[in-house]
Symmetry: C2
Subunit: 675 residues, 2 copies
């Protein structure tokens, strides 16, 4: 059997790559280039301190439109005893803002503080005597003058090396007399997707095909970091082909990212490729997600290096970076979340070093964990979390931990790090979260929990237009009520049928949220029905057909709302579950039921229209269930939720929902309960 | 006399431009375009919700390399009683990560949990019976399987409209089956610099020339906001030329920024140009810096509009935005800080609306003001501040308020807003600061105050390489000691001579910082001497020559350290100040003295070598003064300052300082006093 890769601690892996780069003389600025000072310099990193070549202003300048005068001559001017000045040298002279102060003058009186003795002329630069002006207040020397060097003094430091250029910086550099600027050369990063199962974005998919989008995400990450990504086409899982591609990439890039094949399976060639072409430094890092990470270095072939190596003069001039013989290579795991986090963790510090800038750092906040997290003790574990402020508490709600769930990165407001040595954290414990979003954005987030429904997606869309973010976590209806009791969300979506009374939600609210005053508002009526194959070949019309037509049924697991509904309806009909072929077969989601039907394992199952639609199946509506929003009274008057309540009576929103298949908006906004 | 512009409140100005854009049907998404889904989509804004076209995974996929089995068949497997499976359909089958689960299977056992019964074969996909495997633990259904739709369910909302795309978003969009994406068209913004005094970046400057770099800063701002800036060449101050340029720009752009000429001076044409070509909505906004702001709208000429107007089909397809007849124009004030802030305040909300995204918002923190701020009661006043954490206090130190001082924007860590209605704030009061930097960066900032010296620029540069920011505020030596007493900085630079004892700093520290234990460390010895014209035509060699050679002297103001030094030296020499021609003439800075000499108003003055160097003057060194760092004991062991102390004994730093003219590093690091 294959020997599995051997994980080493994250800090050790980072140290090993740093040492290898130091040995190769690559743990430093990669190179510098001189570029013109224009808006494309934005975001580039300075490689040298920028010293001012000229002062700004480079002369004493008038700060206002007005009259240059000698301040001492204004002494004694008062409202009751004005002083007059003839417009001539050594007395007064008109100046526009920015004009040089005449050599004999040492102050400017703004035009609005001056009276003209002669009303029939207009003030312009060309005024000469015998006109005159009158003032009624003395001015101190240097009033309304921008002295030479007020902004910048020639020879002063304008910006340090290692500074990432922002708009105002470009102005200051220009003001200090520069026309060009030395910045760090952008590291060229080759991104090589490999895998026989990979197909390009936009391909028509067949079973087993995997869309290759990691290279896209990684290229965007490299761009964000200030590097220059180059995406290669997909290489099949073939040792020789991958070797050839890597060899090629190494010749013309500063870093190679080899995606997937980094584990130890039958077709995982990355480690062997690195071993063959260079030195394998690390195979496996104790970090989750991402652990099958490979780090290595490969030498450029001497021929290529010689052919392209620059002269010493070119290197000294800073126009061309010295070519180094070694090129680092990173074997990036294939799961998209692992790939993205691996690039953040391992590549960002290298690019930062190469550009000479400070590594990007996310702001951190302490937050309360909404549910228990288990973590392997030996790993640094990065958990994607949704972050919201509910009452006074900043909450971190763990999202899907699946390394294949790219949407968990999209929905994440931050990353909670569970360091190696910690085996897990209990709900309610404080956890440090590295935030992707600003606190202001997080404070505009409505935190919704409970059962998922497509209407919530639309609600999110509409709320975005009202300056609110809507983050919803799917923990099922019961889970949502429990979370509300613990103060972990602003509201919950619930569709819990009481099988005895046929009433929705209220008895469950009393059971799971005792003594918490709530408001319950109906969101939608939602069709439940039978998901059947396209064209409904078995002609199934109702639950009765399940026993009479000998059809294969697929059930939901015990406890699921849909199963409660089925049992309630069978009971009303006096029908026995024994009469249904497949009643004991269980799937865990609406979509699981739909997939079973699509694949032919079953003829039908009970579920919602959306699940049928997602897999191009047909749907026979049977019952309508009510989906409610449950809101603790403490939040009902909160300004945060106001736009949500407005939307429930908004025509546009109601129309958008009614266009979804299987939804009834007539109940929307009806208050079901108010404590 | 010219009538001055009439300021209206900021909120009213913003409302007026919003209404004008609403009237022109321009207060909405500007247009949409479909682009390929690649890394160039980064930072673009979605204009439609993105719904999933396919599920991901689109089949039940193995989550590990291992064996697909039927979970129920593993029941009863235990360490002591293993169960064996033959490798065949309905029993066990090898799968790689990502492979489809065979239809008959419902779980995967990872390869590392499986024993081979037959050691002489290697596991590959092509294995067929009669090989077999053995397991020693039961697995539940769906273990190590990524069920269909685990990440994305076809038809679900992947991203809302109005979302700015990040790297992971691109992956999720690709995973959900899209190959192209609808994003907001980038608004085209014309930037028109006008002014006869303007010269392009890099020009050789003569008196009165002003480097035109506002268009560069504004273009970079527009780029940062997501617009497409187009910079026009400089137009001279000529009404007809400006009209022509504006007319031209209006035809092909969505917004026109007309820079300078927005005030009411003799050559300020912007308001008249807008009035002639369109409608002037606002002239003057009560906001500082920036108040002579102009807002207006201009109609595109009908000919051009007709010629280029798209068909309804093109508009409906979203490929071409409807052409609107009205184009907003903003008259931007000429001072660089005013220009930049005007663009932030007025243009960012328009671009945000046009792109359909949330306006950019800076994070805010409350900070303690280090000195009194006076503000006109009627204005919204934006004050650039340096922000640092000293002890437990977050401090905001106001920087230069001059609208011409672009370096104040470069040095600013944030903007403190003094709203209209507030006349000013006292030192020690809390002020809300909109932060340009993260809290983490601010917490790595060493806050230095007092007398400025070029060595501090070098120190900043060296500290940047040790993960520290060094922010220094120039308030003079005495001001620095007072600030330290108030707990407003980590250290102060001081060179205060006691004219009685000839000793530096200590007596002043006891006077201004009583009962505060300090450490005083010498930074440098610094030459003071006579700044003279190039080539020293009057042959001035010492202070004695000031009386004997009938030279014109330029003095510093009373209280300046350099004046104290002069008087101390005159006293030692027994020389009377009356004997110096120009002793009563005062300048306020080293550079002011140098400028007076450069312009011929004086022959010499006392100052530092750097001031002479800045204006290409000569320097006659006479005395050396000591420049010390004063550090309250509470900070001397702080980790924050450790790299600073290390640098004082660092060879590289000492060498860099000794290469500056007029500096002596032999005293560097000497402890002068330690309480």
């Amino acid at each position: 059997m294959s020997i599995y890769l051997h994980d080493i601690p994250l800090s050790q892996a980072q140290a090993r790559i740093r040492e290898a780069l130091q040995d190769a003389n690559l743990w430093c600025l990669l190179g510098t280039e001189t570029i013109p000072l224009d808006e494309n310099a934005l975001g580039r990193v300075t490689t040298e301190p920028i010293w001012a070549l000229v002062s700004s202003p480079h002369y004493h300048a008038s700060a206002m439109d007005g009259f240059a005068i000698i301040a001492e001559n204004t002494n004694g001017a008062q409202p009751s005893s004005p002083i007059s000045f003839v417009l001539e040298v050594n007395s007064a002279q008109y100046v526009d803002t920015g004009d040089p102060l005449p050599e004999w003058a040492n102050a400017v009186i703004p035009i609005e503080n001056v009276e003209s003795l002669d009303h029939n002329y207009q003030i312009t630069k060309d005024i000469r005597g015998p006109k005159s002006i009158r003032i009624r207040a003395a001015v101190p020397p240097w009033s309304h003058v921008r002295p030479l060097g007020e902004d910048i003094v020639a020879t002063q430091l304008v910006l340090p090396a290692g500074h990432t250029l922002r708009p105002a910086d470009l102005g200051a550099i220009a003001a200090s007399g520069h026309q060009n600027i030395a910045v760090a050369r952008k590291p060229k990063v080759a991104i090589l997707p490999t895998g026989s199962e990979l197909v390009p974005i936009g391909s028509k998919l067949k079973s087993g095909d995997i869309l290759e989008y990691n290279s896209l995400v990684m290229a965007a990450q490299i761009k964000t970091m200030g590097g220059e990504p180059i995406r290669y086409p997909i290489t099949k899982d073939n040792f020789d082909s991958i070797c050839e591609r890597v060899q090629e990439a190494v010749q013309t890039h500063d870093l190679v990212l080899l995606n997937a094949g980094s584990s130890a399976g039958a077709e995982d060639f990355s480690a062997k490729v690195v071993e063959k072409l260079g030195t394998l430094l690390v195979h496996g890092v104790a970090v989750r997600p991402g652990h099958p990470v490979i780090l290595g270095v490969i030498a450029r072939s001497r021929v290529a290096a010689t052919k392209q190596s620059p002269t010493h003069k070119e290197i000294a001039s800073g126009e061309i970076a010295p070519r180094n013989d070694m090129v680092p290579i990173l074997g990036v795991p294939g799961y998209p979340v692992s790939a993205a986090l691996t690039v953040d963790i391992f590549v960002e510090p290298i690019i930062a070093k190469w550009l000479g800038r400070r590594p990007h750092e996310l702001p951190t906040e302490m937050a309360t964990l909404t549910r228990k997290l288990v973590s392997p003790a030996g790993d640094d574990d990065y958990v994607r979390v949704a972050v919201g402020k509910v009452g006074d508490k900043l909450l971190a709600a763990p999202l899907s931990r699946g390394a294949g769930v790219i949407t968990s990165l999209v929905q994440a407001d931050g990353l909670a790090l569970i360091p190696s040595g910690v085996q897990g954290l209990e709900a309610g414990e404080q956890v440090k979260v590295h935030l992707y979003r600003s606190k202001a954005e997080i404070e505009k987030t409505i935190f919704c929990i409970g059962s998922h429904d497509m209407t919530l997606d639309l609600l999110a869309q509409f709320l975005a237009e009202h300056d609110r973010r809507f983050a919803s976590a799917n923990v099922g209806s019961q889970g949502g009520l429990v979370a509300l009791r613990r103060g972990e969300a602003h509201l919950a979506g619930s569709h819990l049928l009481n099988p005895v009374t046929g009433e929705y939600n209220i008895s469950y609210i009393r059971q799971y949220m005792p003594n918490i005053p709530v408001k319950v508002i109906a969101l939608v009526g939602r069709d439940q029905g039978l998901i059947v194959k396209q064209g409904n070949p078995r002609g199934i019309k109702n639950l009765g057909d399940l026993s009479s037509k000998n059809v294969q049924f697929m059930n939901r697991q015990r406890g699921a709302g849909t199963r409660v509904l089925l049992d309630y309806q069978l009971n009303l009909m006096g029908m026995s579950s024994d009469s249904i072929l497949g009643y004991a077969q269980e799937e865990y989601t609406h979509l699981g039921v739909a997939a079973a039907i699509a694949s032919g394992r079953a003829d039908c199952g009970l579920g919602i229209a959306a699940a049928a639609q997602a897999l191009d199946l047909d749907f026979v509506p049977l019952f309508q269930e009510r989906y409610d929003l449950v809101i603790p009274k403490q939040f009902t008057d909160d300004d945060l939720l106001a736009p949500l309540f407005e939307l429930l009576t908004d025509r546009g929103f109601q129309e958008a929902v009614s266009q979804l298949k299987g939804y009834d908006v007539s109940v929307m906004g009806t208050v079901i309960l108010e404590d």
